[in-house]
């Protein structure tokens, strides 16, 4: 397969071939195929207090959980870090409502979200037997970057939350199972998949509440932190919000983002950087090996030029290379 040095043209062809075969692979598999033989699923009842749900997430080292409404006996959406961001913003603009925030139950999030005018809790879902490709398309259109798998039992027609698929899990599944990812050798700079303009960034001294606002306004999962010259220093992630407000302490909102990041657990693996010359083959390799969610694109001096997220990669695999 193109071992002979036929040069660039060959690389381009192989890339196209590779994307097409990955796409065919996604169409041939179901979400169910992605599930491991045994796994753990944590589902939260909607009558649980928001602050308790935060502890459950942190204790179990997870960042989201499907919700269950026992009154209707139905799946009630996905709790994610953006819900906590909404609560923070609500509290920040209505500090007098502390009581309310403290006693807020998960089923009360809707009102908060209505009050600050953001999208309500994500309720998109898919049946586990549908093609994986379909799950990916549906996931791309949802804000939470993940999709719950919901089944129904045959006799009582009641819903069963089977699992939640994330972009990371799907891309890792692809990286593990598709040898064709090795043929993705075009530099990412050529593919027009890197978000370059409109990457919101902040400084180490920016108040964390402003950064949280940037996350929510841009509907992004991370905000890069740069210095005066534009060198990338660190990144604030939406999931960092969980640690920030642990224990219901909202006082910490006056901190700078640099201070807020001092709460990050020592287990944090670090921010991944790459350049526009890197290839998806190596990127997929990293996805296979470590829990990486995005790559920040820097130039030779370490200045931030863009970001490549898992959504960008997934979108490219699903919809890219369709032209001539």
């Amino acid at each position: 397969m193109g071992d002979v040095g036929l040069g660039r043209g060959n690389v381009v062809l192989e890339q196209k071939f590779s994307v097409e075969s990955i796409r065919a692979f996604l169409k041939s598999k179901t979400s169910y195929d992605v599930l491991p033989v045994s796994y753990r699923l944590i589902v939260l009842d909607t009558s649980l207090l928001v602050k308790k749900s935060l502890n459950v997430l942190l204790q179990n080292n997870i960042v989201s959980a499907p919700l269950w409404d026992a009154k209707t006996s139905r799946f009630a959406g996905l709790l994610t870090s953006s819900d906590f961001i909404n609560v923070i913003q609500y509290y920040f603009s209505n500090p007098d409502k502390f009581e309310l925030v403290d006693k807020l139950q998960l089923d009360g999030l809707k009102e908060i979200e209505r009050a600050i005018g953001v999208e309500p809790i994500d309720t998109a879902s898919i049946h586990p037997a549908r093609p994986l490709y379909e799950a990916c398309i549906k996931m791309m259109n949802s804000t939470s970057r993940r999709i719950p798998l919901i089944d129904q039992d045959e006799d009582t027609h009641r819903e069963i939350v089977v699992s939640v698929l994330t972009q990371y899990r799907i891309l890792k599944f692809v990286a593990l199972n598709c040898r064709e990812t090795h043929l993705l050798r075009r530099p990412i700079g050529e593919l027009n998949i890197v978000t370059e303009k409109e990457v919101a960034s902040c400084r180490m001294t920016t108040p964390v509440i402003d950064v949280i606002q940037l996350l929510s306004q841009g509907n992004v999962a991370s905000i890069p932190i740069v210095d005066d010259e534009g060198h990338l220093i660190n990144v604030y992630e939406a999931v960092d919000v969980l640690g920030l407000i642990k224990g219901g302490i909202y006082n910490d909102l006056s901190l700078s983002v640099g201070e807020a990041l001092m709460r990050r657990s020592d287990d944090f693996e670090g921010v991944y950087t790459c350049t526009k010359n890197d290839k998806l083959s190596t990127i997929m390799d990293h996805i296979r090996k470590s829990r990486v969610h995005r790559f920040f694109v820097v130039d030779e001096d370490g200045k931030l030029t863009g970001v490549l997220t898992l959504s960008d990669i997934l979108r490219y695999i699903l919809l890219g290379e369709t032209g001539s």
């Binding site: 599930l35 045994s38 796994y39 753990r40 699923l41 589902v43 939260l44 009842d45 649980l48 308790k52 459950v56 942190l58 204790q59 179990n60 080292n61 269950w68 026992a70 009154k71 209707t72 006996s73 139905r74 039992d153 045959e154 006799d155 009582t156 027609h157 009641r158 069963i160 939350v161 220093i233 660190n234 640690g243 901190l255 700078s256 640099g258 201070e259 807020a260 990041l261 001092m262 709460r263 990050r264 657990s265 020592d266 287990d267 944090f268 693996e269 670090g270 921010v271 991944y272 950087t273 790459c274 010359n277 890197d278 083959s281 190596t282 390799d285 990293h286 090996k289 790559f295 920040f296």
Partner: protein, 631 residues
């Protein structure tokens, strides 16, 4: 438990969740305990390794403490038995064991020595120096302690604390129980370094609810507890020695907390100006304004009669430099690099199990990877141990004490070193402009100790990859950078520790009540909830078959089964200990129509959604809890 439910992917689950709190009973760790151990392995009179267990000395917050003696030498030791279950982050067992090995290198005449670590399947047994008395018993027995006598104890305490801080270990729990005395009236501090390792870092819970020695930032629940907290506690200890009472004491805990937080206490008139001044600077509420350990060591009242061996190398170095500057102005350029001591390398490879080449590599390279740093730190530690002994020896008027320190030394590598001291390598002093530099870098190095670099070497022949991890984004480096900027607030923020969930999973619920009473409770609860049950048969009084309307007010389709069936059964686990098990048993339709197949197999049962079952079981358990509280 209301609301949070978890299911395994297999779907069926007749389990309910219960939270278990660990109750720790903290006694004096050298007090009398009731020495009955359930494990034969650790019973009195039995052997562990080379130690014969004599009796239980007490129970610490991390487990039992036993008195034992070394079989061949007869040396008394204490065995601190740590149940692995109380270790923080059980998934980081390896790291914790390394930490304990690190503690083993701590050598200071006024710190209880960790001689050895014995690991068994469920326990980590720390073989520690035995000291029979408590400083505070001594204080209480005496009418009044002179300032001279108190100062001697205080100097020993501060020197030990400084030594540990220098090696990045904060005690965090200095209090009377941890201050022991040997037969020569030397202080020995116990439990250094343990607060870092153990899950149970919660002071208020573990110290008998007596926070008298805890710093304001500790009781106010600030996550950060740095070296400043040990200064505060030492200040309280000094106060107690001099005044024979606590500076902060009140029967009402809220009042006590308020006094500590506001730093409200009184100094008796009889205190000398020097002692009072020092206490005042140690008991400053704002940790940033509080005197540091090194500043204490330079305090005039403190320095009176201070033995040389208690002066940390840093201060000694300063003094020597001053002297040198006075004596000779220029002595040519000094060699900054030190020679590596072969003896130390051997010792290090023996205690920590490092490869010799690895040690040389770590000492020679400037590489900042975690493993190399760890080795370098360990080397520095044992190097200091040696120079400490040298100081002790040169302190002629203290040669008596020296014997006692050395006599206490254990059958480990150190003893060998102690008995026939190899020539101590000449300490090459660094010139003063560079003096602070190594300290800073060493600090960063320690923070990296826990960090493991992601395995990147095996990125298959992708030489052109430019993917990397941004160093400044690593939490340890970020924190060091923030602290280097000297932001006052920054020092108070500490990283989130992902504690392992303390939730344990059980089948059903447990009860110690009389079995018929338990059954009665269940029937009452079922009745209150509107469930129906079949009359139990004579042969099987302990099984209840329940039918319960699952009304979610939504499905009006009559063909959808709406009655959930459940089997509730009482089991005996052991004498006076029963278990109520809840089991899902399929669905029925209230229209009289039986769901198509009344005899479902386990497999088919698991195709049903588990949530309605979990929901109803939760309601039943909550009802049972309410009833039992009422009764």
């Amino acid at each position: 438990m209301n609301g949070s439910a978890a299911v395994s992917s297999s779907g069926t689950g007749s389990s309910s969740e219960r939270h278990h709190r660990h109750h720790h009973h903290r006694h004096h760790h050298h007090g009398q305990g009731n020495g009955h151990s359930q494990q034969n392995l650790l019973a009195d009179g039995s052997h562990i390794g080379n130690y014969q267990i004599v009796k239980t000395l007490g129970e610490g917050s991390f487990g039992k403490v036993k008195l034992a003696y070394h079989i061949t030498t007869g040396q008394k030791v204490a065995l601190k038995i740590i149940n692995k279950k109380v270790l923080a982050k059980s998934d980081m067992q390896g790291r914790i064991e390394r930490e304990i090995s690190y503690l083993r290198l701590l050598r200071h005449p006024h710190i209880i020595k960790l001689y050895d670590v014995i690991k068994s399947k469920d326990e980590i047994i720390m073989v520690i120096e035995y000291a029979g008395n408590e400083l505070f018993d001594y204080i209480v027995q005496r009418d009044k302690m002179s300032e001279e006598e108190a100062r001697r104890f205080f100097q020993q305490i501060i020197s030990a604390v400084e030594y540990c801080h220098r090696h990045k270990i904060v005690h965090r729990d200095l209090k009377p129980e941890n201050l022991l005395l040997d037969e020569h009236l030397n202080v020995k501090i116990a439990d250094f370094g343990l607060s870092n390792i153990m899950t149970d870092g919660n002071f208020l819970k573990t110290s008998c609810g007596s926070p008298n020695y805890a710093a304001p930032e500790v009781i106010s629940g600030k996550l950060y507890a740095g070296p400043e907290v040990d200064v505060w506690s030492s200040g309280v200890i000094l106060y107690v020695m001099l005044c024979r009472r606590l500076p902060f004491d009140d029967e009402s805990i809220p009042v006590l907390f308020k006094n500590i937080s506001n730093g409200v206490y009184t100094l008796p008139k009889f205190l000398s100006e020097g002692a009072a001044g020092l206490i005042k600077r140690m008991l400053i509420v704002n940790p940033l304004n509080r005197i540091s350990i090194l500043e204490i060591m330079q305090d005039d009242w403190f320095k009176v009669g201070l033995p040389t061996y208690l002066i940390p190398p840093e201060l000694k170095q300063q003094e020597q430099e001053q002297q040198q500057q006075q004596e000779q102005h220029d002595d040519g350029t000094k060699n900054n690099s030190e020679e590596i001591d072969d003896e130390l390398v051997t010792a290090l490879s023996k205690t920590m199990g490092y490869d010799r080449d690895e040690i040389y590599e770590s000492l020679e390279s400037r590489d900042r990877t975690s493993v190399l740093n760890e080795i370098r730190e360990a080397y520095m530690l044992i190097k200091e141990n040696k120079s400490l002994i040298k100081d002790l020896k040169s302190d002629r008027d203290r040669s008596d004490e020296l014997d006692t320190f050395l006599a206490q030394s254990p059958p480990t590598f150190q003893q060998r070193g102690d008995q026939n001291l190899p020539p101590v390598p000449p300490l090459q002093l660094q010139s003063s402009p560079q003096q602070h530099q190594p300290n800073v870098s060493r600090k960063i190095a320690t923070q990296q100790r826990a960090y493991n670099v992601a395995p990147f070497n095996d990125t298959n022949n992708e030489e052109d990859s430019t993917i990397s991890i941004l160093p400044t984004s690593l939490p340890q480096i970020h924190r060091a950078n923030m602290l280097a900027q000297g932001l006052p607030a920054a020092s108070k923020i500490s990283p989130l520790v992902n504690k392992k969930s303390k939730t344990r999973w059980h089948f059903g619920i447990r009860s110690r009540s009389y079995p018929l009473d338990v059954m009665g409770e269940i029937y009452i609860a079922l009745k209150n909830l509107g469930a129906q049950w079949a009359k139990p048969s004579e042969e099987d009084l302990w099984t209840i078959r329940v039918r319960w309307k699952y009304d979610v007010g939504q499905n009006h389709n009559e063909r959808i089964p709406d009655l959930m069936k459940m089997v509730i059964q009482l089991f005996q686990i052991e004498t006076n200990n029963y278990l109520v098990d809840f089991k899902f048993d399929g669905w029925e339709s209230s229209s009289g129509e039986v769901a198509h197949n009344p005899n479902l197999s386990e497999d088919e049962m698991s195709t049903f959604s588990a949530y309605p079952f979990l929901h109803l079981t939760t309601r039943l358990i909550m009802e049972l809890a309410v009833n039992s509280q009422g009764g």
